[in-house]
Symmetry: C2
Subunit: 151 residues, 2 copies
Amino acid sequence: MVKRKSHKGDYCPSARSLDVIGDWWSLLIVRDAFDGLTRFSEFQRSLGIARNILATRLRALTERGILETVPAAEGARQEYRLTERGRDLFPVMVALRQFGERHLFAPGEKHSQLVERATGQAVRLDIRTEDGRPIGPDEAVILKVPEAGQA
Amino acid sequence: MVKRKSHKGDYCPSARSLDVIGDWWSLLIVRDAFDGLTRFSEFQRSLGIARNILATRLRALTERGILETVPAAEGARQEYRLTERGRDLFPVMVALRQFGERHLFAPGEKHSQLVERATGQAVRLDIRTEDGRPIGPDEAVILKVPEAGQA
DNA sequence: GGGATGAGTTTCAATATGAAACCGATTGAT
DNA sequence: ATCAATCGGTTTCATATTGAAACTCATCCC
């Protein structure tokens, strides 16, 4: 197999992001972190992930600056918390959620919801130009880096 | 290994989304599709993915309604195109791109950009409540489905 | 002290990935 | 019309990665 491909050197920012969080488990761990989980066993129980894989993923996310370990809350051991950088994945989570809500549930089927804590209002995401006009995929183009082939 | 875990039955829409496009390659294929690629060999060259893997992924994305094959443009064979559903992944792509731009490039390092075709303006994404107020991760909570444990 | 958790690591089997070879159908050039 | 090159895969085989379960050490709880 030689080795799983990496997109680290790609000039496309999406590709690099996927390189950091684009595996089966990482974003689910991040999701749980957004949801307030911090302990190894909490993640393990919530996700049903194998322990060795969880350990690997937590280490990778930590190395990549998405999570950080803080020595301990009170008891002992340590906690995994989202860094500033990790919190910047919020839009990614919301975008995935929105897609799932729209397309991956049967009509009437229950799903969890993301709401503003204070008011209970639904959280939405949208895409606009710099000056605030909403824009869809067809009106957008990727400008490539001149030298590089990759988008 | 028993089988790779699936999140299909999860009550969290993000998890289900990841089940559909959460592997190493799928979103990159989708990215290229947004960028206008349609042919097997175009994807293969652009991504440097092994052919057998590409074939598997294209089939999976098609089965899941993200891509569709249209019989032929003019010459022969067929093309892979984003479906309506596939185009709804646009926010996910933009979110990943924005994260990558912000955190995964050295200062001054070049990267591709997503702009409005007509004006060249940068495309941005933001998250708001239903009534339009911008909101960050700390002010949002996930409301779980009562019966289910998973978020 | 003794047992139950917590947080991993190790071991081992099953699965998925990647490279390269192979194949039939087109397309293109002569 | 013929021969080579390209397209769109599939097959095979070696290697990587994943997952389950067992096994360690600590620390908690009583």
